[in-house]
Structure formats: C-alpha cells, structure tokens
Amino acid sequence: MRDAANPRIECLLRELAPQALGAVMRQGNDFGASEDAVQEALIAAADQWPCRGIPGKPLGWLIRVAGRRLTDHVRSEMSRRNRETLVGMETPQDMAPAVYDEAESVSDDTLVLLFMCCHPALTSASAIALTLRAVAGLTTGEIARAFLVPESTIGQRISRAKQSIKASGIPFRLPDPEERAQRLNSVLHVLYLVFNEGYTATSGAALHRPDLSNEAIRLMSEVHKLVPNDPEVAGLLALMLLTDARRAARTGPDHELIPLDEQDRTRWNRQSIAEGVALVSAALSKGLAGEYQLQAAIAAVHDEAASAAETDWPQILALYSVLKRMTDNPMVAVSHAIATAMVAGPNAGLELLEPLMADERLQGNHRLDTARAHLLERAGKLVAAETLYRSAALKTTSTPERNYLLLKAAGLRQL
C-alpha cells in the first residue's frame, strides 16, 4: 500500500510522478497507457524503496519500470490478439528498453501535463481527479478518500477524462502562446478548486485524508516556478498561502469553526504570510491587477492586522470595489457589502445586500442570509438576526458551518 510508505519517499514520488509521466509520453506512448504504467511504477516504488533503499537515480528507475510495464501490456495485448486472430504479422514497434535522455527538458513536463489535465473540454470534477493522479501522483484510493467518495467513482472520472483527452487528440506539448494564456486560466481554476475543497472540508470521516490544500499549494508553487512572470499565477499562489496561514486558528478542538475576528492570531503561520505578502506585492507592482491578486491583497490586509479591531477596512473596501467592477460574481458583491458595513456601519451594508435578495444565483445559498444575520446582529436587530442565522443553517451543506450558525442563533435567543 502506498499509504504505508514513509513520508520522505512519499514526497519524492509525488515530485517525480509528473516528470516520469512526461518522459514516458515523450517516448511516443499515449497518455492513457503511460499514466497507468507510471501509476504502477509509483506503487512498485512505494512498495520496494522503503526496504531496499532509494535507487541512485530514482527518476530513471521509475521511467524504466513504467516503460517495462508498458512493454508488458503491449506484449500481452499482442499475444492476445495473435491468439484470437492466429495472425502474427504485427510486431511491437520498439521493445528495446527506453533510454532516458537527461538533456531533455523535464521541468516543463509538469506544466504540459497540467495543461493537458486541466483542459477546458473536461468537467472540473474530471480535471481535478486527473490532475491529482497524473500530476500530483496520488493514487485513486487517496483521491477518493480526500473527496469522501467511493474509489470506483474517482476511477470512472479518471478514465472518462482520459477518453476525452484521447478523443480530442490534444498533443503532448505546450500550447501555442495565444492559447496558452486561456489554458493557464483553466489550470489556475482547477488548482483553486482543489485548494478550496481542502480548505472548506474541515472534518472528514476517513483517517489519513490526503491534504488537498497542501497539494494545491505544492502544484501552484511548481506552476509559479515555470511561469514566474505571470502576475495572476503569483496572485493565486499568494492567495493560497495567505489563506492557508490561518488554518491552525480556524477550527477549535471539536472541529468547530472559528470566524476570522475571533481567531487567535498568534497561531497564524507568519512564514506563509510573509511569503504571500511578498508575492502579491511584487505581482501588484506589475500593473493591472487580476482577480486572484485582488483576493490575495484582501487576504494580506487581514493577515497583517495585529488584531481584528485593527483591520484596515477602508483598504479592504477599496480592493473589493475594484474586484466588484471586474466580476459579476454575486459572492463578491456580498463581501463588498460586508466591507462597506465595517467602514460605514451595518445599515450601509444591509442596504447593499437588499437588492441581492432577488439574485437567483444566491437562492438556496446560505452566504447572503449569513451576511445579513451578522449585520442585523451588529445593528442590534437580534430577533431578525436569529431568524436569518437559522435560515442560513438550513441552507448550508457543511456540518461545521451549520453547527456554527445554530450556535450563533442559540446565543442570540439567550441574550
């Protein structure tokens, strides 16, 4: 089992997974078969390395084993066909063990694979599953546990994704420059979703739940190394670091949610904050800011405040005002209203939230009710706030969030 492997080997394997896959594919093998072969090689490595030691050239080892697995598959496929047709005319094209060319650029493989796995033709669920397996080197079982779904579900998503890639005939190379920007957006979106999944799922039923936020940050750092000059790439990495920095303070001993203004800021990760702030400051200095940079800038303002009371709300409001002009996302409008309330008082915020109640995209979502409940509470309208906290509790699909909202309502009833 891969799960039993020691953390150092686990770490190394995840790093080598996309490089091995890239090398196997560059030998002319198709993506689906190569990916299966590399998975098998990773499992073999996790099985053998802990007792026999890490080989001198671990990447070469993985590529050789994967290559052999591919050859085995081709051979057995050939002999099956031969048996069936009794015609032995076809011969495998090249059975010679593949020689791995160190000179070829392997660092770009991670990026090429990300472009493949995060192709806009795939649904985000498929793209996420495929990215975690092919690029992050997780097993199907690990991905299934991370999302708390059966292994067969993830297996199906991965094989559907591979079929779509095969059908679309996407070549294994970097897309043209003009296509690249748009495809990079898909990559960022998929990694953003992986991060959020890890960040919002604060409790899980399974032991050894792989940490999706860490995986997203790790892959995002890789992307940033490969595309260091894209300000949105830096912006998203900064956003992840600045958000993840608060992780330890975000939940209490029973996994209960602790809101930002009540968190123990001494438990925030100062190193992640410093890294995130440096990244987003450098990105913003390059001119026109994108959405990830603005969100990162907002997170940075929160993270740099010594206490909730010292938060620079006028600065946050200014950033949300820019963000609101850039996107039609109603969640941004909700956050903008909250920032307005922090600067100009709860009634000013409530006024901005009023028209959003008719927005169909927010129907059934708890965020608007939660925001109104908080502002009504601040305005001293406790009965209305209590009702809205309960209404939000009925709408949320997250247990920790529901529990938090029910406790807020119960607290108001007892005042």
């Binding site: 996994h255 509790a393 529990n403 007892q414």
Partner: protein, 133 residues
Amino acid sequence: MKYMIMMNSPRDGYAQFMSWPKEILEAHFAFMEAFGQKLRESGELVGAEGLASPTQAKAVRAGKDGKPVTDGVFPESKEFLAGYWIVDVESPARAYEIAGEVLDAPHAATIADGKPFEMVIEVREILASHQDL
C-alpha cells in the same frame, strides 16, 4: 458484518433541534464528534453522514407525465432520517451496543408539545455485495 445505524428524528425534530439552548447544542456537537472519532479509532467506522433538513427534501415519483419532482417530506411520515453511520463490526450485539450509545447524545428533554424528545435508532444489516465476497 456491516450495519447501517440510522438516527430517526421525530417529525418536528429538526425544527426543535434548531431551537435548543446553546449549551445543549454545544454538548451535542462535541458528543457526535467524539463518537465518530471513537468509531474511527476502533476501525469500525465505514462511513457516516448527517442529512440536511427535511424541508429541503424532494420526492420523485413516476406519474402520468413522466417523473415529476415534488416538494417536501412525505406528509404521512411520523419521523424521518436525520443521519446514519455504517459500521463494520464483529457481531450484531456490537451493532446494537453502538446504536445504544447514540441515545446518550445530549439533547433537549422535551419537544414543543411537552412530549419527551424520543429518538429511535434503527439498525439494519447491509447485504454483502459481490465486491466483498
């Protein structure tokens, strides 16, 4: 052997749950967290889920005009499923024992009309699928 342990709530149980005092809610959440943790540590927990309020429930039935999706809880039902655990245990007796522990979850004593808050835990054995054989 696997069992599904179902926690059923009285008809207005969810509405009542939402108006429990803060201390009872806190104790209830902590109990459920610890209960799940204990089952994970003993290796008996296969899965567990809490269900959203039945006011969000929909019914899908075959009708004259296809399969209409209609609102709501079945009006005739006296109780509804609030959540479940799937456990893999040595014996039926162990499954009943786990079910009994759920009853210790802190809860408000009475519901709106003064009747005691009564939880019924249903224990059902899960048939083995071909994958388990």
